[in-house]
């Protein structure tokens, strides 16, 4: 060892300490910033109506006794369970449709060299850039013509127009990073294209698929505009619009119920993310090639 590392070591260590302090300070600010709304929702949903209405009460903590009344009401006396079920049905089907279409589309655009595949790949992405606020009127016509207005099946039909282009696009990128020799090795080993896709390609591409799934899930779970435009009956409504329309009567806001509903509605995505993130980050491709 020469003297140089000995001399620089303390300053390196203090550099590192400062970097850590700065990083944690920034993180701390963000955590507070982003956790404030959920915290506020939780606190409000646990308060009695009287305490919520009381202007003098402390908004940050429950002072008047914790109640689960809002949750009870929501789950037993409102259409909330119905909304939850509808959203779940729509989301599951939309995610399934999206993944089947996008995986096949992205695979062919990323791997099979055919005439115009490059242009097509760009085109797929461009369709994603058309905002849904522009699309919902023409789509209204189509949905109406198909007789799907005022059913959640209209959402099953229109959500893929949002999810498929973007999912295809991120997967084209991910698939492109998987060495082509991997598919070729499978083909030579005796797989047909379908076996190769299912047994080799998709398992290896899983992190990309999970990213796409998360996106499709989020869109289908949380979209507000389409259900607002296409669905009017309470029995067909999904969480986003249903919670708001049934818990705001005229200009009366049922804050406790709204907050409880929002919290329950937000739970599944959070749970899904937490569950899938590990896979997402794990990066399964390492070791395929010389790397």
């Amino acid at each position: 060892m020469t003297a140089i590392p000995f001399k620089t070591a303390p300053s390196l260590r203090s550099n590192r300490r400062w970097a850590l302090i700065a990083a944690y300070a920034c993180l701390g600010i963000f955590v507070v910033f982003f956790l404030f709304p959920p915290y506020y929702m939780l606190v409000t949903s646990l308060k009695t109506n009287a305490e919520i209405a009381e202007l003098a009460s402390n908004p940050w903590i429950v002072t008047d006794g914790v109640t689960l009344g809002h949750y009870e009401h929501l789950l037993t006396e409102s259409s909330f369970p119905r909304f939850f079920l509808n959203t779940t049905i729509v989301t599951v089907i939309v995610v399934a449709i999206t993944m089947v279409i996008s995986v096949l589309a992205a695979y062919s655009l990323a791997r099979l060299r055919f005439w115009g595949s490059g242009v097509l790949a760009t085109g797929v992405f461009l369709t994603y850039l058309v905002p849904d606020t522009l699309l919902f009127i023409p789509l209204f016509k189509i949905v109406g013509w198909l007789g799907l207005l005022d059913t959640y099946w209209s959402l099953v039909l229109v959500y893929p127009t949002l999810t498929v282009p973007f999912c295809t696009w991120i997967m084209i990128g991910y698939f492109g990073s998987i060495p082509r020799e991997l598919d070729e090795a499978a083909l030579i080993d005796g797989a047909n294209h379908m076996q190769m896709l299912l047994k080799v390609f998709i398992p290896v591409a899983l992190p990309g698929l999970i990213a796409a799934t998360i996106f499709a899930f989020t869109v289908a779970w949380a979209n507000f505009l389409y259900p607002l435009a296409y669905i009017y009956s309470e029995s067909e409504m999904v969480l986003t619009v249903g919670t708001v329309t049934t818990l705001i009567k005229g200009d009366v806001f049922h804050w406790g119920g709204l907050m409880a509903g929002a919290l329950l509605a937000a739970a599944p995505p959070v749970i899904l993310y937490a569950f899938l993130m590990d896979y997402y980050i794990a990066g399964l491709t390492s070791g395929a090639t010389k790397g």
Binding site: P179, E181, L182, E184, A185, A186, L187, I188, D189, G190, A191, N192, Q195, K199, V200, P203, V204, L284, T285, S286, G287, A288, T289, K290
Partner: protein, 367 residues
């Protein structure tokens, strides 16, 4: 086990003519090595045999069957890729057995075959690991194991050792040789590496710009190259090329090197060169045919000494590579370790014409 026949094989990518008409017939059990500079179409030929690229023109036969339109899975071939291409989500055993599982081979049989292949390659204790937990050399073995468990009719290798360090490459080369002696499967092997080509091949196929320049035993392509390209490509350091003039002196046919000695040609060469008397040719002389003056053995004493000035000296231990100038050309010689030339020194080197190659510069063919 099968023979492989390529007939007038052509491949064009959009505008690039990668392979321009290749005829090659590979008998059963033969180990053929394709060598050539980067971009000459070696991989493309291999990939067409594998069925990974469509054939633009010509025919490929494996055994008696024309396989141009047969998908890879039905060709019964196995391929080892340069970057191994192991399935990262499977264990070593699963990687090796993938092809057998697809073919619905009985479980017990799969286990036996994988075990046997693992024993041959010395990877039996790695069977439960995943590719990311293996070193480069171990991955390479697994890739070979995956090929041999299938018991294919043809092995295809695309630069399988080029990602390994020199020492490991040497070991694996010997192992591939042993494997071929054991299995005798028809093999097509692509490489950049001269040593691999010379040591592994029953037959070396030298390719250039999409064509075969020469196909022959390692000995043939080294000692009797047909074209200037082959002469210059095979051998390291490369053959020296020098302009020369064919003259008759004292009743002997002589190749007078530009700014160098006049080399009397051996009888056989002389007969071929005689019709070029008075014309310019290119002389090709390998570094090992230019030796130190002192102490060289009497048997090869047909050499012609010539004074040169040493430019660069590379002592390699077993021998010394010497670069020197002759006119405008820089030439290379291999000398023994008993002499110690130093840069800038004037010394006498002996040119041995018995292995001189004469090349017609108009056709680039060796006479």
């Amino acid at each position: 086990m099968a023979d492989v026949t390529l007939q007038n094989l052509v491949k064009t990518f959009d505008t690039v003519e990668a392979v321009r008409g290749i005829d090659l017939s590979i008998p059963n059990n033969e180990f053929v090595v394709l060598v050539g500079p980067s971009g000459c179409g070696k991989s493309t030929v291999l990939r067409m045999i594998a069925g990974l690229e469509d054939v633009t023109g010509g025919d490929i036969r494996i055994g008696d069957e024309r396989v141009n339109d047969v998908p890879p899975k039905d060709r019964n071939i196995a391929m080892v890729f340069q970057n191994y291409a192991l399935y990262p989500h499977m264990t070593v055993a699963q990687n090796m057995s993938f092809g057998l599982r697809l073919r619905k081979v009985a479980k017990s049989e799969i286990r036996d075959k994988v075990q046997r292949a693992a024993d041959i390659l010395g990877i039996a204790e790695l069977l439960d690991r995943r590719p990311r937990e293996l070193s480069g050399g171990q991955r390479q073995r697994v890739a070979m194991g995956r090929a041999i468990v299938r018991d294919p009719e043809v092995f295809l290798f695309d630069e399988p050792l080029s990602n390994l360090d020199a020492k490991l490459r040497g070991q694996m080369r010997i192992e591939i040789q042993r494997l071929h002696q054991q299995l005798r499967t028809t093999t097509v092997y692509v490489t950049h590496d001269q040593v691999e080509a010379m040591t592994l091949a029953d037959r070396v196929v030298v390719m250039n710009a999409g064509r075969i320049e020469q196909a022959g035993t390692p000995d043939e392509v080294y000692h009797r190259p047909r074209t200037r390209f082959v002469a210059g490509f095979m051998g390291s350091p490369a053959m020296n090329f020098l302009d020369c003039q064919i003259t008759e002196e004292n009743g002997r046919t002589v190749a007078r090197l530009a700014a160098g000695p006049a080399l009397p040609l051996p009888a056989e060469q002389a007969a071929r060169a005689r019709s070029y008397t008075g014309k310019k040719l290119v002389a090709g002389l390998r570094p090992e045919n230019i030796r130190e003056a002192a102490g060289h053995d009497g048997a090869n004493s047909s050499g012609v000494p010539h004074d040169v000035s040493i430019d660069i000296v590379e002592p390699l231990g077993r021998e010394t590579i010497v670069y020197f100038r002759l006119g405008d050309a820089t030439l290379c010689a291999r000398v023994g370790t008993e002499v110690h030339p130093s840069a800038g020194e004037q010394t006498s080197l002996v040119f041995h014409p018995d292995r001189l190659h004469l090349i017609d510069p108009e056709t680039d063919l060796v006479l």
